[in-house]
Amino acid sequence: MSATPPSTSPAAPGESPAAPRVPRPAPALRRILSHARLETCVLLSNGEQLMVAIALPAMVMVGLWLLPVGRLEGTPAIDTAVAATFATALISTSFTSQAIMTGFDRRNGVLRWIATTPLGRSGYLAGKILATLATHVLQVVVLGVLGLVLGWRPEIVGLLALVPVWLVGTVAFGALGLLVAGLLRTEAVLAVANLVFVLLVAVGGVAFPTTSFPRILGGLADLLPSGALGELMRACLAGGPFSPGSAVVLLLWAAAGVAAVVRWFRWTDA
């Protein structure tokens, strides 16, 4: 411990104290990137979050590859397994992890403190989106390699088509995650985020195509963001039929989610 107090002069290092300067924020991009880096590091250093982001989707892939469920006729099992896995990974990071992390940030007063810093609320959200995308890249790499090992042979057109689907899906589920984090108590956020994740993956049209559900249940699942995402993923990666309806549903959930966050997200517990 140093007994020498740090220089608290408003003059920058190397400047004369006689010529103080006004404290300035770092450039906006640097602030956002810095926040994205912190969020990514925190997420990736947390064992539970890593399990949700990587281990669970990997288990979904292996399970769907081994078991004769969730397949499309005439399509290799690994293709439908990878599509379902990528959708699971997207939901786990954009929705579950973000809901839990943001919920705890709100409870711990992090959101209040952030709002008083040069980063501000908009910078916090921008950094969070970048961190989510960075985690997605890691997920795609790790899970993609696992898929390749299991025999997945992707087509470049499908991968390119995946990009906009992934981005819209990230916005839709990220907004829903923030909404859960911003409206519920932290303990409830933990329960709801995990429960909803399991339900969406199991019966929300992610692991199994909605065409395999009873008619009414399938119709309902088609209207969920998870059902739309699952169908679009299978269209991109498993040769499934492209459904414009699914694209519209996912876009509507993204737009409604963002509007709801703007309207109802609470930055404090008060």
Partner: protein, 307 residues
């Protein structure tokens, strides 16, 4: 806005949480280069007032100007000039202490030297510990470091020394005095009167959302002590030979009695104990084997007289 105008000006602030009126026409100022302490019981409105001044809360009525700006509409440029240490920490629990401090510094163009701040506040001792595993005092230090890391013109500190050991508390006080010396306006909320007496240039006593008293510590005490209320005098007699203590005590009692004052004499005042504790810790830190042979501070009596 010129550099001599107050850093904080709140005028007739009012704010309610439902039926509860937290601020009821609160007006106060905080000057540059001064430590201003906000005092009052829990629920007096201190935190609500600070929330309004930091742009976290929009008052129902009245106005607040911070460095000439409405904090509710503050830009990143304005927020870079204001440091905030909030009551419930505001620290991301999954990050390590140093990770968070470097992150806080990265939000500013010309922050303080991170390693220097960490060393001074002892944060380097738990640099790689996750925030969720830090003690209350360690979190306070980190929150304080984050509040000052951007060299703010105005800093809000909520209970900055709560939960800290005497050695760190002394350093924090030095740091706060240093901030004020270099022109920073420091707004302090605390329940520790030692902090107020030792640090504050000005105090604002708040109750039920209003300022009841305002001025220097001495002015507030002089103007607001009750009719007939006594003034407490404290004096320390050092270097008294042990065999001279009874005679000195007797003389002090007689002197107090002549003035109608009540006298309490103790041979180990809190200040002595704190001095001994700090001395022992310093010796221990420097590996001084002579730490075992403590000086007999408790032989030196101190006396307090009150009338």
């Amino acid at each position: 806005m010129d550099d001599h105008s107050p850093a904080l000006v709140a005028t007739d602030l009012a704010h309610s949480y439902g039926a509860v009126r937290a601020l009821d026409g609160l007006s106060l100022t905080a000057e540059r280069g001064e430590v201003t302490a906000l005092l009052g019981p829990n629920g007096a409105g201190k935190t609500t007032a600070v929330s309004c001044a930091t742009g976290l809360l929009r008052p129902d009525a009245g106005s607040v100007r911070v460095l000439g700006t409405d904090p509710w509409r503050a830009s990143p440029e304005h927020r870079a000039r204001v440091g905030v240490m909030i009551q419930d920490g505001g620290l991301a629990s999954g990050a390590t202490a140093m990770q968070l401090l470097r992150y806080g510094a990265s939000l500013h163009a010309a922050p303080l030297d991170v390693d220097e701040v960490a060393a001074h506040l002892g944060i380097d001792e738990f640099a790689r510990t996750l925030v969720r595993r830090l003690s209350g005092g360690q979190r306070q230090r980190l929150a304080l470091a984050l509040a000052i890391i951007g060299r703010p013109d105005l800093v809000f500190l909520d209970e900055p020394t709560a939960g800290m050991d005497p050695s760190i508390r002394r350093r924090v006080r030095e740091l706060i005095r240093g901030l004020a010396r270099t022109g920073t306006a420091v707004v302090l909320t605390t329940h520790l009167m030692d902090d107020v007496v030792g640090l504050a240039d000005a105090v604002r006593v708040i109750s039920r959302g209003r300022v009841l008293a305002s001025g220097s510590v001495q002015e507030v005490v002089r103007e607001h002590r009750g009719p007939g209320g006594g003034v407490t005098l404290r004096a320390t007699a050092s270097g008294v030979a042990p065999d001279a203590v009874p005679a000195l005590e007797q003389a002090l009692h007689e002197a107090a009695a002549r003035h109608g004052a009540r006298l309490e004499v103790s041979s180990a005042a809190a200040a002595d104990l704190e001095a001994v504790l700090l001395d022992l810790m310093d010796r221990d830190a420097s590996g001084d084997e002579a730490a075992g042979s403590t000086t007999h501070h408790d032989d030196a009596p101190s006396a307090g007289a009150a009338r």
